[in-house]
C-alpha cells in the first residue's frame, strides 16, 4: 500500500512550499517523479494512520458507552477534521476522506468493557500517545505539514486534558 502510494502520489504540501520558479521550471508533469516525495508521503501516511486508529477507538467507545456520546462525539468530529486535512495533502488520497480504512489498531479495546471511566482513561492515553507520535514527526516534515502536525498534536493534547477533566468529574 505504502509503496504504491509512494509511486503514485506526491505531497501537496511539498508542491505548495516549493519556490514558484522551481514549479514553473519543472511543470506539473515533473512532480510525480520527484524522488524526495517518498519519505514525506510515508510520514503523512503515518499521521493518517494515527488519526484513523483514533477515529476507530472513538467509534468503538461510543458504541460501548452510549452515555459518553455527548462528550466524545465532538472530539471524534475534530479527529475527522484532522483526517480530512491530512488526507487533503495527498494529491491522490489514500482512501476517501473521513472513511477510515481498516488498521491493525482499529480493533484495539478503547477501555475494558463498557466502564465509562476506563474508556475515558484509555482514550486519554491514546490521545497523549498520538500527540507524541505526531510531534515526533515534526523535524522531518516539510514546512506546511510540520505546521499542521504541530497544530493537530496540540489539539490532541488538549483532548487528553478534556478527557481527564471528564474522568475526574464523572
Amino acid at each position: 500500500m505504502r509503496a504504491d502510494l509512494r509511486r503514485r502520489s506526491v505531497l501537496a504540501a511539498t508542491v505548495l512550499t516549493m519556490p514558484l520558479l522551481t514549479a514553473a521550471c519543472k511543470g506539473v508533469g515533473g512532480l510525480g517523479t520527484l524522488p524526495k516525495s517518498g519519505p514525506d508521503v510515508a510520514l503523512l501516511q503515518g499521521a493518517i494512520d494515527t488519526e484513523q486508529a483514533l477515529i476507530a477507538r472513538y467509534r468503538l467507545a461510543i458504541a460501548r458507552s452510549p452515555g459518553l456520546a455527548g462528550t466524545l462525539s465532538p472530539l471524534l468530529a475534530q479527529h475527522r477534521e484532522h483526517l480530512a486535512r491530512l488526507t487533503s495533502m495527498l494529491i491522490e488520497p489514500a482512501s476517501p476522506s473521513g472513511t477510515p480504512r481498516p488498521s491493525p489498531s482499529a480493533s484495539a479495546p478503547a477501555g475494558s468493557g463498557s466502564d465509562p471511566s476506563a474508556t475515558l482513561a484509555a482514550l486519554e492515553t491514546a490521545e497523549t500517545d498520538a500527540a507524541s507520535s505526531l510531534a515526533g514527526r515534526l523535524a522531518l516534515a516539510p514546512p506546511a505539514l510540520a505546521q499542521l502536525l504541530a497544530s493537530i498534536a496540540a489539539s490532541e493534547a488538549s483532548h487528553a486534558l478534556l478527557l481527564r477533566a471528564h474522568g475526574a468529574a464523572g
Binding site: E81, A135, A139, A150, A154, A157, S158, L161, L162, H166
Partner: protein, 184 residues
C-alpha cells in the same frame, strides 16, 4: 490582537518573577541566523507581549481563584517572552519592545468576556509559534510546537472546550465542549 496602540487600560501587575533571560537549552542561535528566523521569532515575541498585556486585563475582571490562574498563565507567557528575547539576542537581533498598550479585540467587561479574551490570546500566540514551526531548525520547530501545545492546553482550561486546529484557521470552527467546564 491587533498591534495598534489602544487606549490605556489595566496594566499587568508588576510583581512577576524575575526574567530567566536565557534561551532554552540548545536554542542559542548564533551562527544559525536567517532573516526568516528573526522575523518568526519577532512575531512570536510580539504575540507574547500582547498576551502579557491582555492577561493583565483578564486578571482584572476575575475573582480570586481565576485571577490566580490568570497570574500563572501570565507568568508562563513572561518566561516564553524572555526565552524569545534571549534567542533573538543570540542571533544578533534586537528584540522588539512591547507597546505601552494594545487594542483589545472586543470589549472586556466581566468574567465571560475575560475568559473569552484569554482563549483568544492563546490562539493568537499559538498561531505565532506555528510560524516558527515552518523553519528548518528542527530544535526550534520542536520547541515552538511545545509552546503551541501549551497555548492549546491553557485555552482549553479557560474555555472548557477544544478546537481541531489550534493556531490555524479551522475549516468549520466547531468546538468540543466539556460538560463541567474546566475553567474556574
Amino acid at each position: 490582537m491587533t498591534a495598534s496602540p489602544g487606549p490605556a487600560s489595566t496594566h499587568p501587575a508588576s510583581t512577576g518573577p524575575a526574567a530567566t533571560g536565557a534561551a532554552p537549552a540548545g536554542l542559542a542561535l548564533s551562527g544559525a541566523a536567517t532573516r526568516g528566523t528573526g522575523a518568526a521569532l519577532q512575531a512570536a515575541l510580539a504575540a507574547e507581549n500582547a498576551a502579557i498585556y491582555g492577561y493583565g486585563v483578564v486578571g482584572g475582571q476575575l475573582g480570586t481563584a481565576a485571577r490566580n490562574q490568570a497570574l500563572r498563565d501570565w507568568t508562563q507567557h513572561e518566561v516564553a517572552r524572555d526565552q524569545l528575547e534571549a534567542m533573538l539576542t543570540s542571533l544578533g537581533v534586537l528584540p522588539a519592545a512591547a507597546r505601552p498598550a494594545y487594542q483589545l479585540p472586543f470589549p472586556v467587561h466581566g468574567t465571560g468576556a475575560a475568559i473569552s479574551l484569554a482563549g483568544y490570546l492563546e490562539n493568537r500566540v499559538a498561531a505565532a509559534y506555528l510560524g516558527i514551526v515552518v523553519l528548518d531548525n528542527s530544535r526550534l520547530r520542536v520547541w515552538a510546537a511545545t509552546q503551541a501545545r501549551a497555548c492549546a492546553l491553557r485555552a482549553t482550561t479557560w474555555l472548557g472546550r477544544t478546537v481541531a486546529f489550534p493556531g490555524l484557521s479551522s475549516g468549520s470552527g466547531r468546538a468540543a465542549a466539556a460538560g463541567p467546564s474546566a475553567s474556574p
